[in-house]
């Protein structure tokens, strides 16, 4: 653990950037077709529930990260196993997002550049950030948050001015009823990006006003949920659900539609800014959580020492996890959700919370008896 403190605003900004990360560029939950925005809003509400589990665990152990309190709750052996699982999970997801990012960049702008090089450049930046620590990352987040907001506002204004939005494309609402929406919620959008807030269980101990943690987390989820939902809704309103579902990057297609005054056109650079900044923060936070988790579990005093070996592992892993993009996407949607997201974002935290409650109840009773 580093000896730094983040204030509530910094945590909020980090969480918002993290939630947007890759979610804003990919066709998030497009299986729900034109109802995707409902799906995102629903997952936001359920996601807030998941966040409450992480928050309750944090209130029992306000000065410890996930990898430490798991040991306190279920004992050293099981606790360490859980901690190790989480570290691997964080690093693996970092590698996955890195792969996503590299593939996106490759197909969108750099068809001739090797994937490894694109990933390596990004990973280098992430490693530098992790080396500098969470405080620097949070401050950088504050600066980029403004630029990203500005980019978003400019983009939205241009889409509206260009008269691209056709609300009829969002109809019919709930064409196939709630079933399709909830299927998407519980198989996709709940876990990415909302359930991924589990990574902040590693960052909570840094916050300087622990009381604000809950409100900060919820606010971040609320704002990101609304924003992601409206972004997807705009994508569909501009392109139609058919095109969006076949597109790799609906946001890019939307931006490419913009043509204002015969001059402002092909604003791909806006998409690139969103992609690179969002990708950077998402990978950095996962990677940083993995690094400090490892430092915490194996009692390494300076987390900086772990940055380079782990960083290179993540880079190699990002290349090795899949032989092509379709395999990567398939794994992400089917295997990772079932075997990683559900147990690690929902199952284990719930169990941990249950044990923690029992433990605290019994020790509470025990103390009461002692007093008598």
């Amino acid at each position: 653990m580093e000896r730094v403190q983040l204030n509530a605003r910094q945590l909020l900004v980090l969480a918002i950037l993290f939630e947007h990360g890759s979610a804003m560029v990919i066709p998030l939950g497009i299986d729900a077709r034109q109802d995707v925005w409902i799906a995102i809003l629903c997952s936001m509400i359920f996601g807030a529930g998941l966040f409450f589990i992480y928050y309750r665990l944090f209130t029992y152990y306000p000065s410890l990260p996930l990898t430490s309190y798991s040991q306190q709750i279920v004992g050293t052996f099981f606790g360490k196993t859980i901690a190790l699982l989480y570290i691997l999970y964080f690093l693996y997801i970092a590698a996955r997002v890195l792969r996503d990012f590299g593939e996106l960049l490759l197909t969108f702008a750099y068809p001739e550049t090797p994937l490894f090089i694109l990933n390596a450049v990004m990973m280098m930046t992430v490693m530098y950030a992790a080396h500098k620590g969470i405080e620097v990352l949070a401050r950088t987040g504050e600066l980029f948050f403004f630029s990203l907001c500005l980019t978003g506002i400019v983009g939205l204004a241009l889409v509206i001015i260009a008269g691209l939005i056709d609300v009829h494309r969002l109809q019919p609402i709930l064409e196939e009823g709630w079933k399709r929406v909830f299927k998407v919620v519980f198989t996709q959008t709940l876990y990415v990006p909302f359930g991924e807030m589990i990574v902040f269980a590693m960052l909570f101990p840094y916050i300087d006003q622990p009381k604000k943690t809950k409100i900060v987390g919820w606010l971040a989820m609320f704002l990101s949920g609304i924003n992601l939902a409206s972004m997807m809704a705009i994508n569909i309103a501009v392109l139609g659900s058919e095109t969006v579902s076949r597109s790799t990057f609906p946001l890019l297609n939307t931006i490419r539609e913009i043509r204002v005054a015969n001059f402002l056109e092909r604003l791909d650079v806006l998409f690139m800014i969103a992609l690179v900044i969002g990708g950077f923060f998402k990978i950095s936070i996962f990677f940083y959580a993995g690094v400090i988790g490892t430092a915490d579990l194996f009692r390494v005093k300076e987390h900086q020492r772990l940055v380079y070996p782990l960083g290179i592992s993540v880079l190699l892993l990002s290349i090795a996890i899949a032989s092509n993009f379709s395999e990567h996407i398939k794994e992400g949607l089917n295997i990772v959700t079932l075997y990683m997201h559900i147990p690690l974002q929902v199952g284990i935290p719930l169990l941990l919370l249950l044990f923690a409650i029992i433990r605290h109840r019994s020790s509470f009773l025990f103390r009461k008896q002692e007093k008598k």
Binding site: N7, L105, A109, L137, T140, L143, R266, D268, V269, M272
Partner: protein, 526 residues
Amino acid sequence: MWFQETSKRKQIGVFDNMLNETVENELQQNIDMIRTITGNSTDIVIREFLLGQEQEIPAGIFFVGGMTDEEMIQKLLVQSATQLTIPSSYSREDVLAYICKKIATAGKVKRIKKWHELFLALMSGEAILLIDGVAEALSMEARGGEYRAIEEPSTQLSIRGSREGFTESLATNIAMVRRRIQNPYLWLESIKIGEVTHTNVSIMYIKGIASDEVVEEVRNRLQRICMDGILESGYIEQLIEDKTFTTFPTIYHTERPDSVAANLLEGRIAIFMEGTPFVLIVPALFIQFFQAVEDYYARFDIATALRFLRVLVFFISLIAPSAYIAMTTFHQEMIPTQLVIAVAAQRESVPFPAFVEAMMMEVTFEILREAGVRLPRAVGQAVSIVGALVIGQAAVEAGFVSSAMVIVVSITAIASFATPSFAIAISARLIRFLLMILAALFGFYGILIGIILMTLHLCSLRSFGVPYMAPMAPFISTNVGDTFVRFPMWALKERPHLINQTNVVRQGSNQRPKPTNELEKEGDNH
């Protein structure tokens, strides 16, 4: 001969042992000693005379020619030789004490016993009076000599505002600031730095506004300096800055007394040094390098517009050439069709890739600029003519570079000149080349990565404990009014939050100008 034995700090070189001893009784011996130590240097003036009227005592006055106020020494001599009456009952020791009280011409008189103190005083421009038969000397403040007159600052010009700039004289510089802040809590501390040069360095701050912790830190860092000599405030800057391996300046320097006064009022600390018109100011924040004194003299809307312009200008000077490289090599589709055809047509005849072209032009420009800075003014014009002709016309006509590239280089150059602080403009110059390499390798992705790396680096910097990017990151809402924007004067209620400052409010609660009848109404309510 200094610092040969690194473990031991030596005061003065060869005659070390002698210097620790006290001044002799006999005048002649003392004169010989001074002659030996100074190697008979011809600018050390030694004037022997008979002191007093009733009792005539052999005495000598010593000073360094050119560093002292000769007129004052003349008066001193006249006074002590002709007007001073010393009662015959006085012993020699009493005489010294008597003179100490009696001589009115000198402002500051000090009694000295040790040789090294004597030489320190002598060399800093004081006049030394030695009397035969007394193992003690009197040093009298007589600093003077020729200095450059106060002129308009040459680096930080302003249309509106004071025309005074600092000079090389420490005392004059300090007085200029004192005249602006007439307050007893404007405190000044002096130390001498430099084992050989004994340079006077002063730190100035307003007690009660500046944080004591930061003052203590500055004091410690200055005292830690152990070097043969410091000749410019740049030496101090490099020895006390928080981080060496960065292109960004973490200490501000200025030539303007009004700028120093404003910074002192914000709770910062100024470091003055003898022999340079540049005064250091710590802690320095990134945004300070985009602020000019005139921002506060002009009205807020204009100042805000100028601030925006400067930030824009900084970004242009950073990324203009790299954006050109990225667009022409990787992202042709981003350029509007007609423009891309025009650029492609120009680049048709250019034998180099865009990166080489840009690099060539940028390096040429840097050479021209360096030549322009160092050359005598008469030759400098020739350089600019050659530059304009060679770069502007001949290179394009010869098909070495495209005219679009010339435009990009010129825009970059002008943008870099428009950055108000040279210190930040020069770091943008360095980073520009890195970004050009990144752009040549990865296009806009490379530029974005470069900017993320730069921002991470900027956010990791601190200046005397204060985060460099404050008040943007960490975000301090009460201070944002004076960053990329400048709020109206009355809205800037608080000073910048530096480390552990308690005294942050700097103006009354209703400074907003209102029509007089409204003010009266408020008065009635109270």
